[in-house]
């Protein structure tokens, strides 16, 4: 995912090394980023900067719709996204479908500030394949679906392909939203273009790209694709359900938000000119293609 460069964190101590049916898992104590989770050699999170990723991927979608009640997380076995969703008192059920039990177990042992998310009584854990899970889900079951996948190699390969997005769209109620991890605007433009193109075709509603700063990810940024379904436009840029107005954080770990706020939410959609050009040309092309096909 990052040819010709390397980002190295000093390992103070290796805390865990394991191999599941899906990937190699490593947990180590770093010098300045706290504990670090690595899957197949790729940094997934560090204690020092996980706040940016977890808070953005959860609150960008959940603050964009009024009173989300049913939420599905795909991936996210560390529990950090659950922790963030649990701040939303309107939410009634949080399903999570993670394929790799060993990730969950390792995180419960070494990342209690993240795995605390599993302690929310609204959480229902499903260990298994996401595509399979979505096929069995009721149509329109979810207000929000958050895809917290690893990079699209290994077990997450399927999660950037069209059939996957079709099952997502099916499981989303009208007015519901998807937030999907969507790589770096500096490094992976083609992959983002492909995902945006598929999302436009499948969802036919609002489709937006947002990004944020995560120091330990390649190029120091990570992006998100937000989608709503045909006939249910969502103004993703201006949160209708601002986090500052949400009362009653229900988890034990009542830590303040470290990264996300409504200003940061809006700012995340401001794209550098190069990204705007590359991604909007595509949007127009897809829209024109869509128009041709349906006319």
């Amino acid at each position: 995912m990052w040819p010709g460069e390397a980002h190295s964190l000093k390992v103070e101590k290796i805390l865990f090394q394991g191999k599941s049916d899906y990937q190699e898992i490593l947990v180590f104590e770093s010098t300045v980023y706290g504990k670090v989770l690595v899957l197949d050699g790729i940094i997934q999170l560090t204690e020092a900067d996980e706040c940016a990723y977890q808070e953005m991927i959860a609150h960008l979608p959940l603050c964009s719709i009024p009173s989300p009640k049913t939420v599905l997380v795909i991936g996210g076995g560390d529990g950090g996204v659950l922790r963030e969703i649990s701040r939303h008192s309107s939410v009634e059920t949080i399903d999570i479908c993670e394929i790799d039990k060993l990730v969950i177990d390792a995180c419960k042992q070494f990342f209690p500030d993240l795995s605390v998310g599993f302690e929310d009584p609204r959480v229902r854990l499903h260990v298994g394949d996401a595509v399979e899970f979505l096929r069995n889900a009721s149509e329109g079951a979810y207000d929000a679906i958050i895809v917290d996948s690893s990079d699209p190699i290994g077990p997450a390969q399927e999660l950037v392909e069209k059939p996957f997005f079709e099952t997502i769209a099916r499981a989303l109620r009208p007015g519901g939203v998807l937030c999907n991890q969507a790589e770096s605007m500096w490094l992976h433009t083609h992959l983002i273009q492909d995902m945006l193109s598929i999302c436009h075709e499948v969802f036919k509603g609002s489709v937006r790209y947002a990004w944020t700063s995560v120091p330990t990810y390649p190029s120091g940024v990570i992006g998100f694709i937000l989608c709503s379904k045909d006939g249910s436009p969502v103004d993703f840029v201006n949160p209708v359900n601002p986090i500052e107005r949400i009362k009653g954080i229900t988890l034990k770990s009542k830590k303040d938000l470290h990264f996300y706020n409504s200003e940061v939410h809006k700012a995340a959609f401001a794209l550098p000119s190069f990204a705007k050009r590359e991604l909007s040309t595509l949007t127009r092309a897809t829209t024109m293609l869509g128009a041709t096909l349906t006319s």
Copy 2:
């Protein structure tokens, strides 16, 4: 500046190695970031992402005031900031004070897309010490001063201290603005706090912190402090002189802006909650102290 971690770019070919009176200079061809300029072992710029830094440090201040005419650049020997300033047709003179002639010469040889900035006939080059230069400058000579310094170790040490900011304030006209390189909000909070505290004391006008994504800088971000003088508040967040309305880019290299636009300008001031807390507490404390001292 970056303990416990390393960011490595693969060196395809070393193009230049030299030692000036001030620092060691290295230019190499990397695998994916194009040519790279390194001073005393710290990456200063790469061809792939220099756009973000150069465009932001130049246009954040110049788009915040109507019709800037006289501009001073401190540091910036690569010429990239000059290239960006030259897009502003209102500008009549661009002084640049760079201490290290060898940086300028190396960049003229290896970074023609940056050093093209020196070809603007409005540019007047002064090779020498910035503090000395500012002491000799007329009071109120400049509409905008841009401090494009390297990290505050080595030749740039003085450039984060109070006497330096006092000479800047003196050289700035009422209504003029300073934009100063201001490190990473993830890594250098204390340094930023110190700089903000000094700026509040010295400038007593508007003081704001902005940030942007630059993949090859530590933690993938870089910040900027923007200041105006006492009695001349400037709304830095909402550009009064938006770049989209500026006609007549005068340089040979009429490349489109790669990164900066008015949306990105506004978004740069949206601080993550942790940075907001750490930097605004300081702002209040300083303001309170200022009030006590002057009452």
